[in-house]
């Protein structure tokens, strides 16, 4: 706060900050006292004049009542959970407004029983429908909304991790003006004047900069605002925007359209540099589910060709992956297009990969109407246009491809939009700038010089409304702390247009304001609550007596039924495409991509995501300059060498990571790092690649220059050795894979090395004695390495974040990890993913060696880990062949930060220093279901049974691919038992006779025989 203030003063000199008490001070003072004394100290505090002063500023309404002792409790409600952070833990309340419990847990609030509420998390305008678990009014775990077509129960890492974002202690916690805490009323008062002035000018001086918005309510409000100030302008910018996609659609159809894919109908998929199986791609959760379904080798199995410019998890799942530079993709598109009868002029150039193109074309033509071509967001409009044209030509439209109205409620070219804003700012036409969300100062294209422009411009009133006091807030007069989506009412559209209603799980921890409340303040209705606004909006749409019922149902389901956009019939207007200027074959291409973990940088302060291994490199806490092995050898560069990357006179310096399968003459750099003002986790991590980003080359450009600096930089990868080949020339059958033909010929190929059943002197325990024996299968064919399971597990099981230094030492704590293996040619390798939780071995090597019996077997075949008995000899981990045990080498858990106390799952012990921990198959969920089933059985006097599928582990629940199946292997009809009976089923390292309860279904590829040579 202090240095922020000083920074501000040099930006906009003026008001000297008076020595006043702010909320932070109150909290600090209250933090000292705990439990019972807490109330007393509150009273004392209340006496102090500074406090009353602060109160007048913070809660003008409450202030007068405050002075009489009775309504001091009101203070509690006003402050909400922020008091809990002041030493009085765990007494946050639900908002006083109406909340409808989800059908799945229809009880009232019963202490010790969790409740579930439907809401949605919005990323770049696309809503991810969620179901949030809440304990006594504290959201603790995020899951997918299984009723919603865009989720079907799955989620992505960003949604999963957003709960940590809500409890982030570094979030902006108050409204500040030049660094001083001000009450909301003060803010409203302060903006009255300027707004009045603008009213006279019809708002000619007002500019509002938002991120991509899909919220119908917000759009409504925005229009109201623009009606009030006709000359005001609404600008939209996000670094990870879909301008190319939008322009592509315009090129092809002459209108802005949303493209949806129906992968459940796709027999042949061609991806033109599209990473559509990873978080961040609109609809990825649903796409993963559909894709995985079509990869079942025992049914009609789809085939996927991926042409991509940097290794992605989508490429890893491809049957044929072709690494090329991003700039060469268009050539491919043209070649394939012209072959399938789209002629747009320009000589089709497929380079040296003619054979590849031919077989792709052949395959496409064989599967007209059940093929799909997907173009990546970072490919130029032309490629998108070509993809559309091909899908039309192949008769895929309406079958595998569907066009609808755009989800984005203001589908403008965002770069142009920002460019206009900047020029207006330069020419001094802007008097009042409201930046709602985002962080343009950090992530605007470098050539626009947004930062300097904002810093030096004469804009008399600059308002930032966002979750963090970030680089942008720093340069604004006012910073209004935004309410997190788990704290506020809103709505938004999923990729298919379905409207989700966002309902809060908890009262705003820091009295934040939602975008709706902010806007309504700008139209001078400052006291309208988000609830009134959102509900009001929908009441207009659904006037009538049955609205109440409809509204309740909507909240209950989490989305408005039948609100998905209807498919639009389209007609191709694509005449000819000017051929892009050819690029030098050896001119270095620089790719800028959103980061797999921190996206565009907005999650930079999210410890879970920072420590989440990136799917291909397994890097954490840093971004790197990814280069291909060929290039590395040629340039004599090694991993972790520091290099300078130069592009159009702009320079960045960062460490190199040699990424198997990366195309030659090309480097990839991830955006979102090098934040200056992110918070305890994000500030200073990695390097800022936005420096290289310009409006004419948002995603890639050639003409880069790479030079070694001679320095070294330690990168933290959770998997140093990324192949199954051991030094002695052997290859270990860890991931077992075959082609479809091989599998059909030899279905039992995966069974190698299984030891005979009775291979022990000691009679094993008969698990049939218990009603349940838990087991798990992981389908390697379905797994797309999306990392969801890792975050889900981390959230469910209170797993600590250890930080970069500890990851470097090899001490990360993830209970389930996703191993990535690269086999074959390092420049075009076959990549495999393998999620590895505890195998719950029936002959568990760890149990034998523990001197105190802290890890022992349960009657249901669980390998129980008893933290409170563990003395930490680490012998079990040494003897664990899967190395899935995690040790608290230091005090990794944060026992201090009060927010985290609220966040943790109360059903799972928080581990302390010196104890071993590991995957428990979510034993807390097992126990919960068992107890419920048992009590029900006894009360209703019937046979005890836990319904198959009703009990899901956290990883299984979150898996969009449905790759993880958990259940009772004593029940031959359970899904898991059936899967274990399959030929593809094998145990990892089963030759050690550990008898793992977690087994894998071998991976099957479906390559094109034409290309198999």
């Amino acid at each position: 706060m202090e240095n922020a203030k000083s920074k501000r003063e040099d930006v906009c000199p003026g008001k000297k900050p008076a020595n006043r008490m702010d909320r932070a001070t109150v909290e600090r003072q209250l933090k000292e006292t705990k439990g019972p004394e807490y109330w007393r100290s509150l009273e004392e505090l209340a006496g102090s004049p500074e406090f009353q002063d602060m109160l007048h500023r913070e809660f003008p309404k409450g202030a007068s009542e405050w002075l009489d002792s009775v309504s001091r409790r009101g203070f509690l409600q006003l402050m909400g959970a922020s008091l809990a952070m002041a030493g009085m833990t765990g007494c946050t309340k639900l908002p006083l407004q109406e909340i409808v419990p989800y059908v799945r847990q229809p009880e009232q609030v019963i202490p010790g029983v969790a409740m579930y509420y439907a809401t949605a998390f919005t990323l770049s305008g696309y809503a991810n429908p969620l179901l949030v678990e809440s304990h006594l009014g504290r959201p603790t775990k995020i899951e997918g909304n299984n009723l919603h077509p865009a989720s079907l129960g799955g989620t992505d890492i960003f949604a999963q991790a957003s709960i940590l974002g809500m409890y982030d202690p570094d979030r902006s916690q108050a409204i500040t003006h030049l660094g001083d805490v001000e009450p909301w009323a003060e803010f409203v008062k302060e903006i009255k004047g300027p707004l009045a002035v603008q009213k006279a000018l019809a708002g000619a001086g007002i500019r509002i900069l938002t991120q991509t918005i899909s919220s119908p309510t917000l759009k409504d409000q925005m229009q109201a605002f623009l009606a009030m100030y006709p000359k005001a302008k609404w600008h939209v910018y996000e670094p990870v925007n879909r301008d190319n996609t939008l322009e592509g659609a315009k090129l092809a159809f002459g209108e802005a359209l949303e493209t949806q894919y129906r992968l459940e109908n796709a027999a042949v998929i061609v991806s033109l540099d599209a990473d559509f199986l990873y978080a961040g791609f609109p609809g990825n959760v649903r796409y993963i589910r559909d894709f995985a379904k079509k990869r079942n080798p025992d049914a009609e199995m789809s085939r996927m060709y991926v042409v991509e410019s940097n290794p992605s998890s989508t490429g890893a799942k491809a049957d044929h992956r072709l690494p090329v530079r991003a700039s060469e993709v268009e050539g491919f598109a043209r070649a394939i297009a012209s072959a399938v009868g789209v002629n747009v002029g320009g000589a089709p150039s497929s380079g040296e990969h003619t054979k590849f193109v031919e077989s792709v074309v052949e395959d496409l033509q064989k599967h007209e109407g059940e093929s799909v071509i997907i173009a990546g967001d970072h490919q130029p409009p032309a490629v998108h246009a070509l993809a559309h044209a091909m899908n039309v030509a192949l008769g895929n439209v309406g079958k595998t491809v569907v066009y609808t109205d755009p989800v984005d409620s203001n589908p403008v070219n965002q770069v142009e939009s920002l460019r206009d804003l900047v020029s207006d700012m330069r020419t001094g036409q802007v008097d009042l700038l409201v930046i709602m969300g985002g962080n343009p100062v950090y992530d605007a294209p470098a050539d626009l010089g947004f930062r300097d422009c904002l810093k030096n411009s004469k804009i008399s009133l600059r308002i930032y409304h966002g979750l963090y006091e970030n680089e942008t807030a720093e340069l604004c007069h006012w910073s209004v702390n935004e309410a997190h989506y788990l704290e506020a009412w809103s709505d938004g559209r999923a990729y298919d247009g379905t409207v989700s209603v966002v309902q809060p799980l908890i009262a705003p921890l820091y009295a934040g304001k939602s975008a709706h409340e902010m806007l309504s303040a700008l139209v001078s209705v400052p006291d309208a609550t988000g609830y009134e606004i959102v509900r009001g909006h929908w009441q207009k749409q659904h006037a009538g007596p049955e609205f109440e019922a409809w509204w309740r149902k909507t909240l209950n389901d989490g989305f408005i039924e039948g609100s998905a956009y209807p498919p639009k019939s389209v007609s191709l207007k694509l005449q000819s495409l000017p051929v892009a200027a050819a690029v030098g074959a050896n001119s270095l291409e620089v790719n800028l991509r959103r980061d797999p973990s921190v996206y565009d940088g907005q999650f930079a302060n999210n410890g879970w995501l920072q420590e989440l291994p990136k799917p291909m490199s397994k890097l954490t806490w840093d971004n790197a300059v990814l280069i291909g092995p060929k290039m590395a050898d040629r340039e004599g560069i090694k991993t972790m060498d520091v290099v300078t990357l130069e592009l159009g006179g702009r320079k960045i310096t960062g460490p190199v990571w040699i990424q198997a399968g990366h195309p030659d003459h090309s480097v990839t750099v991830h955006l979102g790092y090098g934040r200056r003002k992110a918070g305890r986790a994000g500030t200073g991590a990695g390097f800022d690649a936005y420096v290289l980003r310009t409006t004419n080359a948002l995603w890639f450009a050639t003409g880069g220059k790479l030079t070694k600096t001679g320095d070294h930089y330690q990168l933290a990868s959770t998997q140093g050795y990324q192949t199954m080949d051991t030094g002695d020339g052997e290859t270990r059958p860890l991931v077992r894979a075959a082609t479809l033909e091989e599998y059909r010929k030899e279905p039992k190929f995966a069974k190698e090395g299984e030891p005979p059943a009775a291979l022990t002197l000691y009679p094993g325990y008969d698990y049939k004695k218990s009603p349940d024996a838990w087991g798990m299968t992981i389908d390697l064919n379905a797994c797309v390495g999306c990392n969801n399971c890792i975050i889900a597990c981390q959230s469910e099981n209170n797993i600590a974040v250890v930080g970069k230094e500890q990851v470097v030492k090899g001490r990360h704590m993830h209970w389930i990890r996703v191993d990535a293996y690269y086999q074959g040619d390092r420049d075009a390798p076959q990549a495999y993913f393998q999620p590895v939780p505890c195998m719950q071995c029936e002959n568990a090597p760890c149990e034998l060696v523990c001197p105190v019996g802290a890890t022992v077997h349960s009657s249901e075949g669980l390998n129980d880990m008893v933290y409170n008995r563990c003395i930490g000899t680490r012998y079990c981990s040494n003897n664990c062949p899967y190395k899935v045990r995690r040790f608290n080498f230091l005090l990794f858990q944060d026992w201090e930060t009060p927010q985290y106390k609220l966040m943790r799952n109360p059903d799972v012990s928080v581990r302390s220093r010196g104890v071993m921990e590991k995957c428990t198959y979510c034993v807390q969920r097992i126990t919960e279901h068992r107890i419920n089933a048992e009590t029900a059985a006894v009360r209703e006097n019937r046979e005890f049974k836990i319904e198959d599928g009703s009990l899901q582990t956290a990883c299984q629940q979150s898996c969009p691919a449905d790759a993880i199946v958990f259940g009772n292997i004593n029940d031959p009809n359970s899904r898991v038992a059936k899967l274990k009976a399959q030929d593809r089923n094998y145990g990892l390292l089963a030759d050690l006779n550990t008898r793992p309860r977690t087994t894998y279904l071998a991976e099957i590829r479906n390559p094109n025989p034409e290309l198999e040579t």
Partner: protein
């Protein structure tokens, strides 16, 4: 005592175990004077001071360890055991020579042992004490380590008796107790001697207290002899059992490089190997400094050297068999381990241990080397380093690359690892310094029995 009879004859043929010209009196004077009359030399003070400082460093390192947790060391997943266990095994190994010399050689009537058994035993005790530190402090929650002992507790829960770590607890504590008793009983007559010769009141008091009223009567001697023999009998199997049990820590696990049946004999041999090396490293300087060449003669050095040569070959055989079974067994993981030893990231250390433990000690074939204290001293040092490396290779190298290639890792010791290691060495030296200063480092009465006067002519 007829056994001494033939010893003397043997002694007459070979190099003597004690130089001629000594009488009961002179022996007693010579040894006891070191403790009683000899002024504390500057060298001793300096040596002791240095050792003491290093011991303080150990305490500091351990203090910090208790505050922060085992994370201050270089250990990680996959390498859950690092220096701590390496040092533990190393020290325990060193702690073998003492009991071997005193007990087994006693039973074998190798009377030449009489002049080195005393400080060999002391050395054993201190080594085991050093070793004993590690199993405790390497745990994540040392304050709960008592859960390893079976006692009736409110949890109604026993330790896990199948765990080799538990066997360790018993094996090591038993070994320590027996060694202590054995050493102390052996001391009693000499303590009495010192009691009687000390002219300082407090010295007399304290020696007297420890001498437990020893009067040297025939009855005392008779009881003493039987007790001593009895303990020797008890101690003998322990010499074998301790390191066998320690080797189980590894042999019982499934880690490639640990899971092998040859470990027990090969660990015991290795232990004796390093034990004798340590005995020599102590004996050679001591006999020089305190002018005991007459008591610790070249014969002693030679015999110890021979023992080292023999055990060294057993160890070499162990390496050979390990490599052979690794290759011949055809087990994927063992073969990878073998390759990894020879070419992997720790290959350098493996080659070094071969040089230290197998190649260099071959110099002991030469009589010149065996009788040259300086060379012997250096070779012993090399062997001690080699044996430490052996434990490092067994523990760290094996763990660094086991079954899942995805989970391979490296181990880099931190300054705290080194401080703890050197700290224990300091502690060991401190104890030795104290020992040579306040207790007879050579058994006086047993030396007397080596004199011709001790012969009892049978009528």
């Amino acid at each position: 005592m007829p056994d001494h009879l033939d010893n003397v004859e043997v002694a007459n043929q070979r190099a003597p175990v004690i130089e001629p010209g000594y009488t009961f009196g002179t022996i007693t004077d010579k040894i006891s004077s070191i403790v009683l009359t000899r002024p504390t030399s500057l060298g001793w003070v300096v040596g002791f001071g240095a050792g003491f400082l290093v011991t303080m460093m150990l305490l500091f390192a351990l203090g910090y360890l208790f505050i922060k947790g085992t994370g201050i060391w270089g250990i990680n997943i996959p390498i859950g055991w690092g220096f701590a266990i390496v040092n533990f095994v190393w020290w325990i190994g060193i702690g073998h020579a003492g009991t071997l010399i005193s007990a087994i050689l006693l039973l074998l009537r190798q009377s030449w042992r009489n002049s080195i058994n005393r400080f060999a035993e002391a050395m054993t005790l201190f080594a085991v004490a050093c070793a004993g530190i590690f199993p405790l402090v390497h745990t994540g929650r040392p304050w709960l380590a008592y859960w390893m002992f079976p006692y009736p507790n409110t949890m109604n829960y026993w330790p896990q008796f199948r765990s080799p770590l538990l066997w360790d607890v018993f094996a090591v504590s038993t070994y320590f107790t027996i060694s202590l008793l054995f050493w102390f009983i052996g001391l009693i007559p000499d303590l009495a001697t010192l009691r009687d010769r000390a002219d300082n009141k407090y010295a007399r008091m304290s020696y007297g207290l420890l001498a437990m009223g020893w009067r040297g009567s025939a009855r005392h001697w008779a009881r003493y002899e039987s007790a001593y023999l009895l303990l020797a009998g008890l101690a003998t199997p322990l010499v074998l059992s301790v390191h066998t049990v320690v080797s189980f820590d590894f042999a019982v696990a499934i880690v490639p490089g640990w899971h092998t049946t040859i470990f027990p004999p090969y660990f015991v041999a290795g232990a004796i190997y390093s034990g004798f090396a340590m005995v020599l490293m102590l004996a050679i300087p001591i006999r020089k400094i305190y002018g005991l060449e007459d008591f610790i003669t070249d014969r002693h050095l030679q015999n110890s050297a021979k023992v080292m040569l023999a055990t060294g070959w057993i160890v070499a055989y162990g390496y050979g068999i390990e490599a052979f079974t690794g290759w011949y067994g055809g087990n994927r993981y063992d073969q990878a381990l073998l390759w990894n030893r020879l070419h992997g990231p720790y290959a350098g250390l493996y080659w070094m241990l071969l040089i230290c433990n197998i190649f260099i000690p071959q110099l002991l074939w030469f009589r010149k080397m065996r009788t040259n204290p300086v060379w012997l001293f250096m070779i012993s040092g090399v062997i001690l380093v080699g044996m430490w490396l052996e434990r490092f290779v067994i523990i760290v190298l094996s763990l660094s690359r086991d079954f899942l290639t995805s989970s391979w890792g490296m181990y880099y010791p931190t300054r705290w690892d080194w401080m703890t290691y050197f700290g224990t060495i300091g502690m060991f030296l401190t104890a030795m310094f104290l020992f040579v200063r306040i207790l007879p480092m050579i058994s006086i009465f047993e030396m007397r029995t080596l004199l011709p006067e001790a012969e009892v002519k049978p009528e």
